[in-house]
């Protein structure tokens, strides 16, 4: 305990033995942090490329579905049923944006979101679409949609009965991009009764009553999340630096220490803005 106390004192409190500057802020330690950051950058990149961890975002269709219905429940609206045809249409839409390099509701060739629904075999009475790109977390996507009036109206439209999501990674304009497509629909009553059961080519098709089980299965298969890990690493590291600077600044002022070195207050301001920037980086764009 005594050793730990001594280590903490040496590491964070400026005094004679550490040349009147917290050891954690000495240039050799700052150099070590830079090397650590470089190692982390390349390790995470390698893990992403080798698919050791999940891809660039922590967004899952199951979480989006849960959050969307959560927002509807808060507003006393009915639960949306997960529809595979809508999910397929959403995936086709995302793939189309990657293939034709655009980020819009309507494709450059004039294809509408409704075309994808029709192609996937979904006959609708009402339909809607929300788009998002480059978010890190599902919560961020739904929060951003709820803050935008038009997207909010889509989520809370009482006419909608079903929903489908797609989260697809690809490249748009040379940039690694994660697209989220949310498609809403109300099946056309007459056609819905005539439509055959859904049979997907690659995996067993869920019936409407089984959607929770299918979504749960998707969640269970999820790998350790790379974005959550990297985001937390950033938060921990920035908090550590801010705490070290604050302690050093406080005790240097308290003991009236005058020394050669950078300004702690300036470092603090810079890291604080980076901290806020990190929160913005985790949010993407909606359309």
């Amino acid at each position: 305990m005594q050793r730990l106390k001594k280590f903490f004192f040496h590491f964070f409190i400026p005094h004679e033995e550490n040349n009147f500057k917290a050891r954690s802020l000495h240039p050799d330690f700052l150099g070590f942090y830079l090397i650590l950051a470089l190692v982390l950058t390349f390790s995470f990149k390698q893990m992403g490329l080798n698919n050791v961890l999940g891809f660039a975002t922590d967004i899952t269709t199951s979480k989006l579905y849960e959050l969307t219905n959560g927002e509807r429940h808060k507003n006393n609206l009915s639960t949306l049923t997960y529809n595979d045809k809508l999910a397929k249409a959403a995936e086709e839409k995302a793939n189309d944006m990657f293939i034709y390099n655009y980020w819009a509701h309507y494709s450059p060739s004039g294809k509408t979101p409704w075309d994808f629904m029709i192609t996937s075999g979904y006959a609708y009475e009402f339909a809607g679409e929300n788009l998002a790109k480059n978010f890190l977390f599902s919560q961020g996507v739904v929060d951003a949609w709820m803050k935008s009036q038009s997207h909010r109206e889509n989520i809370l439209k009482k006419e909608y009965k079903e929903v489908g999501f797609a989260v697809v990674n690809g490249v748009i304009n040379g940039e690694e991009t994660t697209l989220v497509v949310q498609m809403f629909g109300t099946p056309s009553t007459s056609l819905a009764t005539l439509s055959p059961p859904v049979i997907a080519a690659q995996e067993p098709a869920p019936t409407i009553g089984e959607e929770q089980a299918v979504l749960a299965k998707q969640s269970a298969n999820k790998k350790i999340s790379l974005p959550t890990l990297s985001f937390n690493v950033n938060i921990v590291f920035l908090s550590f630096l801010l705490a070290a600077l604050a302690l050093d600044f406080y005790f240097a002022n308290k003991f009236n220490i005058i020394r050669v070195g950078g300004k702690n207050l300036a470092h603090f301001v810079f890291i604080f803005f980076m901290f806020l920037g990190l929160l913005i980086f985790s949010r993407g764009a909606i359309l």
């Binding site: 240039p27 700052l30 150099g31 942090y33 830079l34 650590l36 950051a37 470089l38 982390l40 950058t41 995470f44 990149k45 992403g48 490329l49 891809f55 660039a56 790109k133 480059n134 978010f135 890190l136 940039e175 690694e176 991009t177 790379l226 974005p227 990297s230 985001f231 690493v233 950033n234 590291f237 920035l238 630096l241 050669v260 070195g261 950078g262 300004k263 207050l265 300036a266 470092h267 301001v269 810079f270 890291i271 604080f272 803005f273 980076m274 806020l276 920037g277 990190l278 913005i280 980086f281 985790s282 949010r283 993407g284 764009a285």
Partner: protein, 86 residues
């Protein structure tokens, strides 16, 4: 607090740059390349600010410049993990 009073203009300049950085990020949310440009620009501005501040204060030393560079680039690399994960 005396540090702020003594160099009010310098700190206002740094805070203004920080606010511009956040506003730019907020406007171009989701545009990963632009976000990285803003991040690098703010980090470089911070290093220049450090040099300028210590020149004005007549306390510039190589050790100080290295300190600003190390902090700035450590954060740039850490943020890069979020902006360009793959």
């Amino acid at each position: 607090m005396t540090e702020i009073k003594k160099h009010l203009f310098d700190y206002l300049l740094l805070v203004t740059a920080g606010i511009f950085f956040l506003v730019a990020l907020n406007i171009f949310k989701g545009e990963r390349f632009l976000e990285f440009i803003f991040l690098t620009s703010f980090a470089i501005f911070y290093i220049i600010w450090g040099v300028y501040h210590h020149v004005i204060e007549d306390s510039l030393h190589l050790k100080i410049v290295i300190e600003y560079i190390l902090i700035a680039f450590t954060l740039v690399f850490l943020m890069k993990i979020i902006i360009f994960p793959n």
